[in-house]
């Protein structure tokens, strides 16, 4: 059934700032917010900028703030928003704006490169392969579900409100580091850099990142807290400290 809806989409101005522009459009059952944005683009605002790709929640391109909440536009069905009120769609606010709904997320790609890369230990078998049990890879596979939508980065107050981009890598990259640290065949050591360069101490486990993750990764409980524990064990555990003195 077609019904009318009002959408307020963020439009940037050439000078740099922006405002909401109001659009009235017809919507039907089963549509997602990205469908509405595309419909407005095709019929009313062909130069409207929106980043998207797979439209199935698998690529993590169409991140935005819908009625103020960080979400994927392609995975937000209209039945999940109140159409009796105007629906606002604006870009992720933790990143510099490019145009309209598109932000500059390149910082994330630079951050990733600063993390020590995967380094496999010597192979287990003569043919150069490794043996791993499914139960040993389960927890890493949870982290590898990440689609890099950066919604967790967007919502994290250390980045969003305190702008610690130079000292803190954000939830996404703690998940990435955890995936490497907990890979059964990885021989790399990222504990020092997590403490010194990646600012894991800044996270005060408010779990906002976990709440917005479209892949339902337990970012705080399964990735960040275990990494914090590794840092604590290495640097602050009195017995380990003592042992190190005698080494």
């Amino acid at each position: 059934m077609a019904k009318s809806a009002t959408f307020k989409l963020w439009r940037t101005h050439p000078e740099g700032d922006g405002t909401f522009q109001t659009f009235h459009t017809e919507v039907t059952d089963g549509m997602v917010v990205l469908d509405v944005v595309h419909k407005i683009q095709a019929e009313q605002a062909p130069d409207l900028a929106v980043r998207w790709n797979c439209k199935a929640g698998k690529c993590g391109s169409c991140s935005a703030e819908i009625n103020g909440k960080p979400r994927l536009m392609c995975m937000t069905r209209l039945s999940q928003v109140n159409l009796l009120e105007p629906v606002t769609v604006e870009p992720m606010r933790a990143f510099p704006p490019v145009k309209d709904l598109v932000t500059d997320v390149s910082w994330n790609f630079r951050v990733k490169k600063a993390i020590t890369k995967f380094k496999p230990r010597a192979a287990d078998a003569k043919d150069g392969t490794w043996r791993m049990q499914q139960r040993d890879v389960d927890r890493v596979q949870e982290f590898r579900k990440c689609i890099e939508c950066f919604l967790c980065q967007d919502v994290c107050h250390v980045l969003r409100d305190h702008h610690k981009h130079e000292e803190f890598i954000g939830p996404r990259f703690f998940v990435y580091a955890a995936n490497l640290e907990m890979n059964p065949i990885d021989a790399g050591d990222r504990v020092p850099e997590l403490k010194e360069q990646h600012g894991i101490g800044y996270c005060n486990i408010t779990k906002c990142c976990t709440k917005v993750c479209p892949e339902h990764i337990h970012i705080t409980d399964n990735a960040i807290i275990p990494l914090k524990e590794r840092v604590v064990d290495r640097y602050f555990d009195p017995i380990t400290k003592l042992l190190r003195i005698f080494q």
């Binding site: 062909p46 130069d47 590898r144």
Partner: protein, 605 residues
């Protein structure tokens, strides 16, 4: 006078899906400078959508498997018009390419003895698909992406290529614009690899993202390269059909591999009604045997739901046309039924098919552990593409290489599920290797500034026409409707001639499209430029399909419903003629050597 920045590399890769990334890694590690251009952000390419797995005869789950069986399966799936050499290289090299991913950080699902687990898939005789649940594509692209960034290449994200630049018949550069600001750049290179993926966006219902606009196909074609097999398009049998906004999104074959069955509105498992003769010896005789096969019983044969994709798609099409479809014009795909067989089936399904569970729950508000899904065919993959040398992946233009979906040859008339991801890594590696070699052996080339300027002016023409021009979205939409209706799963001469007439009209309208506003991140302008590629590709599909007066693999003619032996001896090739019009030719298939013929024969039983 157009202004542009110039970037210079030894090897330039266009496209950062699985094939492009793998090519870039290979070239970069061989010591040449590498530039990588992608239309999206890094790691977002359509490869992420691949679900089921990558086929490689590692024989972890069944030691009867070998490259010989994989080769024979691929040739049979492709109805023997594949390039035999590509099928051979693919079958032999895929295992090493998969193992290498593990050394780069990929974390595949495991067998009980700790090796990479392999699953059953349509057309593969033994369990062969290395996988990670139903998100194998994401695992592949993330692994390659995270490995690639440490190899020293330069990545240019959100750039679109508008033209190839030639020098005396050799490919020497591309003109591209950055989507963010709309600035033009010249990328000069000694060798160029196209890895641009598919053409699904020429159709209304497709599993492809917006990127699948046939850019590499069209760029190569316009530069004078040969395309082959363009009539062979794979319609994946199971795409979502409801709600309308997600129509076409893929439902992995893995659902059927885990025991999912197809039923019509009468509750009948119609796939048992139509099993092609050449697959009868390998197909289960009853549902019980089919179920045992999906659960790893080596003495059982596969259920008919796992026949090749073209066949399953046509059977679904037939059920819907006969009025036995589901409420929204598909058929039912039921995995929930396995509760009759498995204790705690709901948790089992969620563990085996997490993305599918998630996708239906979130997009259709349907719990696949309790209810059947509605599915129907969706345009998924083009077997046709740039004609390449099997070993080096070089096209018919010197210095221009192609890999992955935009290249052609390995799949013949129909691709087996799982052969795409392995194709990307096998031939992506080869393309990167031989492009680097070519770059080392050939010096820098001369770039014709006039050609660059003309390409830029042409790309900016929609702005010159402004608001009085045609709406590019409208032309694209009309083209999609035409291809869907007239050059789809079931084809006839009359309808395809009508499609050609309409495509001529669309080309005329496309030459009049106009846009207004600023150039930065201007989706309307981007659509206007993509349109040229979609139109060239659509014409190539329609012309090739008219010429193949038989039915084979992904190409089904209602007016020529049978396979014709004569058509198994050549590929249909299209090329831009000297006067600019599209020209068709039939090029003979390279003869299969006797030892490989024997392999095919020994596997027929």
């Amino acid at each position: 006078m157009a202004t542009y920045d110039t970037f210079t590399y030894d090897v330039l890769i266009v496209g950062a899906g699985g094939a492009g990334l793998r090519a870039a890694i290979e070239a970069a590690t061989s010591g040449v400078s590498v530039g990588l251009i992608c239309k999206s952000l890094l790691g977002k390419a359509h490869t992420v959508m691949a679900e089921g797995g990558m086929a490689a005869a590692m024989a972890h789950n069944d030691d009867r498997d070998s490259w010989r069986v994989h080769f024979a399966d691929t040739m049979r799936g492709g109805q023997y018009v594949n390039n035999w050499r590509m099928a051979e290289l693919h079958a032999k090299e895929a295992p090493d390419r998969v193992r290498e991913l593990e050394a780069w950080g990929a974390v595949f699902d495991r067998t009980p003895d700790g090796r990479i687990n392999q699953r059953n898939f349509g057309g593969h005789r033994y369990p062969r698909l290395a996988h990670v649940g139903d998100r194998t594509g994401l695992e592949l692209i993330r692994t390659l992406q995270d490995h690639a960034v440490y190899t020293g290449m330069t990545v240019h994200m959100e750039h679109t290529v508008v033209d190839l630049i030639l020098d005396g018949g050799r490919a020497v550069g591309v003109v591209a614009y950055d989507r963010e600001r709309g600035r033009f750049h010249l990328f000069a290179a000694k060798a160029i690899v196209l890895a641009t993926g598919g053409i699904g966006r020429a159709y209304r219902i497709t599993s492809n993202s917006w990127e699948g606009t046939g850019d590499g196909h069209a760029l190569a074609y316009r530069a004078g390269a040969e395309l082959i097999d363009m009539e062979f398009i794979q319609f994946h049998p199971t795409g979502m059909v409801w709600p309308p906004s997600v129509r076409g999104i893929l439902v992995t074959e893995g659902v059927r591999g885990e025991g999912g069955v197809l039923k019509n509105s009468e509750g009948r498992r119609f796939m048992f009604d139509d099993i092609p003769d050449n697959y009868k010896p390998q197909t289960a005789s009853d549902p019980e045997e089919g179920w045992r096969y999906t659960q790893g019983d080596k003495s059982a044969r596969r259920p008919p739901e796992l026949l090749t994709r073209d066949h399953v798609a046509r059977c679904i099409n037939r059920e819907v046309k006969a009025g036995r479809g589901s409420p929204h014009g598909g058929v039912f795909l039921d995995i929930a039924w396995i509760k009759e067989k498995i204790k705690d089936s709901e948790a089992h399904i969620r563990r085996k098919l997490p993305s599918m569970y998630h996708q239906f729950k979130e997009l259709a508000d349907l719990d696949i552990t309790k209810e059947p899904m509605e599915v129907g065919p969706t345009t998924h993959y083009v077997m046709g593409g740039i004609r390449v040398d099997a070993d080096t992946q070089m096209s018919t233009i010197p210095g221009l290489f192609a890999a992955g979906e935009c290249a052609s040859g390995i799949n013949g008339a129909n691709r087996l599920g799982g052969n795409s991801l392995s194709d990307l890594i096998v031939f992506g590696k080869r393309a990167g290797e031989f492009a680097a070699k070519y770059a080392k052996e050939n010096g820098a080339a001369r770039i014709d500034d006039g050609a660059v300027t003309r390409a830029i002016q042409e790309a900016l023409a929609p702005f010159d026409r402004g608001a009085t021009g045609e709406n590019p979205y409208k032309v694209q939409s009309d083209l999609q409707d035409t291809m869907q209706a007239l050059v789809g799963i079931v084809r006839t001469e009359r309808e395809m001639q009508e499609a050609l007439t309409r495509i001529r009209g669309f080309k005329e309208r496309a030459s009049r499209v106009g846009v207004t506003g600023r150039r930065d991140y201007h989706s309307g302008w981007h659509t206007a430029l993509d349109l040229r590629n979609l139109l060239d590709v659509s014409e190539a599909v329609a012309r090739s399909a008219i010429d193949r007066k038989e039915s084979r693999g992904g190409h089904f003619r209602e007016d020529y419903p049978d396979k014709v032996a004569e058509f198994a001896t050549f590929n249909i090739m299209v090329k831009k003629g000297s006067a600019g019009a599209m020209q068709l030719a039939r090029v003979p298939l390279p003869p299969i050597p006797d030892h490989l013929k024997d392999v095919i024969e020994e596997q027929k039983s």
